[in-house]
């Protein structure tokens, strides 16, 4: 059984239908890429999964449970964490407090302490800057903080929305390496990206989203060699 199963999902903003009936699944342990141009509906899809926007049709099942009646703030307790587009860290709070907010729903003090050490091990720069106000971090550090914060909830799945956005090529590579290693330590990843090349390079499977519809799906390496994908998303002619 898939960990996350999206069926005929529809999402509207007023009269505008942004997602027009998409279905996809994410199995335990996978990295799934959802690629598509700006405005295709990637963020909308993630927000529907995490509950930040209501769905207009279809269903979302997570770990065998229908999420229809689970409010957004309870979904994290079911094992879902999001690294939102634009990071959305709490810029006026310290790095440490941001990480602790990631563990907001947890009660196991020892576990939290252990995971904090792990996050600091993975992101040594966050450890150095733990007392600093998050808004003063560089873009790359903020992205790491957003990922660390999500990890602090000990999620089964991480929904990542354009983690490479606005970062230098060197940092982009670093961030993708980190995503891969997070996945290798057991976290399932649903990765939304405009940077299709990088996303396909680490993903197992991928879905291509175009104006609210999935137009293509399959193994990442197969899509990488697909002519239409190469033309439209990898900037080749």
């Amino acid at each position: 059984m898939a960990l996350l199963e999206v069926k005929d999902l529809e999402v509207s903003y007023g009269v505008i239908k942004a997602i027009k009936g998409i279905s996809f699944e994410v199995n335990r342990g996978e990295i799934i890429a959802l690629i598509g141009a700006n405005g295709a509906g990637k963020t909308t899809t993630l927000h529907a999964i995490s509950g930040l926007i209501p769905i207009a049709g279809g269903s979302i099942e997570f770990d065998g449970k229908d999420l229809a009646k689970v409010p957004a703030h309870e979904r994290v307790m079911h094992g879902m964490a999001q690294v939102p587009e634009g990071r959305r860290i709490f810029s006026q709070l310290s790095v440490w407090k941001n990480l602790m907010l990631g563990a907001y729903t947890r009660k196991d003090k020892d576990g939290i302490e252990k995971d904090l050490e792990e996050v600091f091990h993975r992101f040594p720069r966050l450890k150095e800057r733990r007392g600093q106000i998050a808004g003063t971090l560089s873009g790359g550090e903020q992205q790491m903080l957003a990922m660390g914060r999500a990890l602090m909830s000990k999620p089964a799945i991480m929904l990542m929305d354009e983690p490479s956005m606005g970062l230098s090529p060197l940092l982009v590579t670093e961030i993708f390496d980190i995503i891969k290693s997070i996945n290798e330590s057991g976290t399932t990843v649903l990765l939304v990206e405009q940077n299709a090349r990088k996303a396909l390079a680490i993903a197992n499977r991928a879905y291509v989203l175009e104006t609210g519809r999935i137009i293509l799906s399959g193994d990442a390496d197969k899509l990488m060699n697909d002519d239409s994908v190469r033309k439209a998303y990898l900037g080749e002619s």
Binding site: L52, H73, I89, F90, L93, L101, Y104, T105, G166
Partner: protein, 290 residues
Amino acid sequence: MFISYLLSGISLGAIYALIALGYTMVYGIAKMLNFAHGDVIMVGGYIAFTISVTLGADGWIALLGSIIFCTLLGITIERVAYKPLRGASKLSVLITAIGVSYLLQNVALLIFGSASRNFQALIVVPSVEIGSVTIPGNTILTIGVSVVIMIVLTLFINKSSAGSAMLAVSEDKGAAQLMGVNVNKTISLTFAIGSGLAAVAGILMCTQYPNIGPYTGQMPGIKAFIAAVFGGIGSIPGAMLGGIAIGVIENLSKAYISTQLSDAITFAILIIMLLVKPTGILGKKLNEKV
């Protein structure tokens, strides 16, 4: 002389600060100006009056009863009047808040009549003499209670999990939800705390200026709002600082410039502040998104 004017200014300012905290917390978290907040002070005063004078209970019981009543009132106002308007235009919310303010005043008018009642001090603290200066008991009580409340509130916001939730919601509701924060509960809690503080402020105020009427909350409400803006709306230390500043300015202008002009001076300071530094003394800069 100056010292005693200053002290009574600080004590008046501490009351403004307690009220301003409610304004600023609600603004920070629900992003709305709760213009009915001043009237909660009046309700707090009347409840304390009823418990202590009409029912003849002990001052501390009156204080506690009044805090509990106002806390529940704040939660109810939010649930009934403001919650249905989440996502509505700011203007609709503002008009509703003004409506709630009139409602509270008119209910008080209906129950207690328009004549103001004499309020007797609930808690009597003896005055203290230091050299040639006599510090009235009320001043000591007000400053003491306010300082304790501000310390406890600051610790609560910065150290407790519910406080973290409040900070998170005030910055980004959506991101806070992703952390597992229940935004509705957090907003309720904010109204509860703000209204509880308003009850304390109401009682301290009625202790210093011992009478109460249906419109008692209006002027201090407005002054506290000015204090919140002066300190930087949304900022908790700002509300404390702004409250004290406005109280001291008001009292010193009464003492040294003119009793009639003191309110005008307070309002003029707000206007100057808004022109010079619209975000207030400790106001946050607008976030720049990287």
